[in-house]
Symmetry: C2
Subunit: 205 residues, 2 copies
C-alpha cells in the first residue's frame, strides 16, 4: 500500500497491529475517524492511553479493577468460601451477567498451553494456592473452557491442592439450552448422559 | 456489559464507536492491548491523535497529504491535462498501484446520495469546475464506482462542464480478469458486449 501521507500511513500501521485488523480495515477505520469531529479521535486516543497506563489488577483475584481490591472481592455480601477459577476477565463478566454465582473469582490470566509456550508459572496459580492454604475457602469451582488446555489447567491446579480439605467441582458440560439433540457432538452428548441429574433439579431454573 | 473498571469500560466504549466494531470486539481489542507492552498502546494513541489533528488535504486535488500540495499534483512528470475524478483517497491508492495512470486526480470526498443527505455542495465539485475553467485540462476521466450514486455524481458533474471544451470518459465496465462468464451479472455482461473493443487492443496489456 502506497500512502500519500506519513501521518496516515503511521496511523494505519499502528491500527493494523490489532488482532484481526488488516491494512485495509485499518485504513477504513482511520478514514472514518478523519470524517468525524476531532473530539472522537482524541477521546479514543486518551481512553486507550489511560487504560494501558493506569490499569490495575485486583491484588486478590487478578480481575481488572480501578481499586487495589476489586468490587467483587471487597463486597461483604459475597460468599468468600467459594472461589470460581476462570481464564480471563471476560469469563468473570459472562458469569456475573448470569446472576447465578455469589462467591468470589480467581482470574488465571490464561491457560496452560505448551504449544504457545505458556506454563503454570505464567499464570496466577501460586497466588491461588496461597489463598487456599488459609483454610477459609471450602469449595473451588473450575470454570475453564472445555478444551484440552482448559482440562490440563484444571488438572494441574487440582494436583497442587488435592491434599487440602477443599471440595472441587467443574461447571456442568452438556447440551446448551435451545440446542437440537441430533446436532450435538458425541463427546458432549455422551457426557450429558453419564452426568445426568435428577429431573426435579432440572425444574429449578 | 458490566465492567469491573471504569477505565476499561471507557476504552471499550470509545473503541466500539468505530464502524463494524461491536462491544465484544472492542473488549477483545482492548484486552489484547493490555497484554502487550505499554509502548504499543501509546504509539497507537499518538498516531490516532496526530493523524486527526495534523491531517492536511491537498489544496488542488483534496487528496490527504502532509504538504500543501500533494506529491502527485506537484510531480512535474505527471500529465496535468488529464484529471481522474474519484470518490475517496482509497481510489487514488488503488489506481496508483496499477501504474496505469500518469495524470492527476480530483478527490470528491464522497458521492451524491440523497438518502444519506449528501448533495453536490457537500462534495469537492466547485473546485473541480473552477480548475476546468482554466482551460489547461483536456480530458476528465470519471472513475466513480458503478453504482446509482456514482452514476448520479458523474452525470451532475458532466452537466456542469458540458459547455467546456473537455473530453470526458468513464473507466471501462466489463468482466473482471479471471471471472467466469456464466457467473457475471446481466447488466455487466450486456454492457461488455455493447462496449466491445477491437481484439488487437485487448492484446496490449
Amino acid at each position: 500500500m502506497e500512502f500519500s501521507s506519513k501521518l496516515l500511513e503511521n496511523a494505519v500501521n499502528e491500527m493494523s497491529q490489532l488482532p484481526g485488523v488488516g491494512k485495509r480495515t485499518a485504513l477504513r477505520l482511520v478514514l472514518h475517524l478523519l470524517r468525524q469531529p476531532k473530539e472522537q479521535s482524541l477521546l479514543l486516543a486518551n481512553a486507550l492511553q489511560k487504560v494501558r497506563e493506569d490499569i490495575n489488577f485486583c491484588k486478590s483475584c487478578h480481575n481488572i479493577s480501578d481499586k487495589e481490591i476489586c468490587e467483587i472481592c471487597s463486597n461483604p455480601m459475597r460468599n468468600k468460601s467459594v472461589i470460581c477459577v476462570v481464564e480471563d476477565i471476560r469469563d468473570v463478566m459472562a458469569i456475573e451477567s448470569t446472576g447465578s454465582f455469589r462467591g468470589l473469582y480467581h482470574v488465571l490470566g490464561g491457560k496452560i498451553s505448551p504449544i504457545d509456550g505458556i506454563g503454570p508459572q505464567d499464570l496466577n496459580i501460586s497466588s491461588l494456592v496461597d489463598k487456599l492454604k488459609t483454610g477459609e475457602v471450602k469449595e473451588l469451582i473450575f470454570a475453564m473452557s472445555p478444551t484440552m488446555e482448559g482440562d490440563t489447567t484444571n488438572f494441574y491446579i487440582f494436583k497442587q491442592i488435592q491434599d487440602f480439605d477443599i471440595k472441587t467441582s467443574t461447571i456442568a458440560r452438556g447440551i446448551a439450552a435451545g440446542n437440537e439433540l441430533e446436532y450435538t457432538d458425541e463427546v458432549t452428548l455422551g457426557r450429558s448422559i453419564i452426568d445426568r441429574i435428577p429431573f426435579e433439579s432440572s425444574l429449578k431454573l
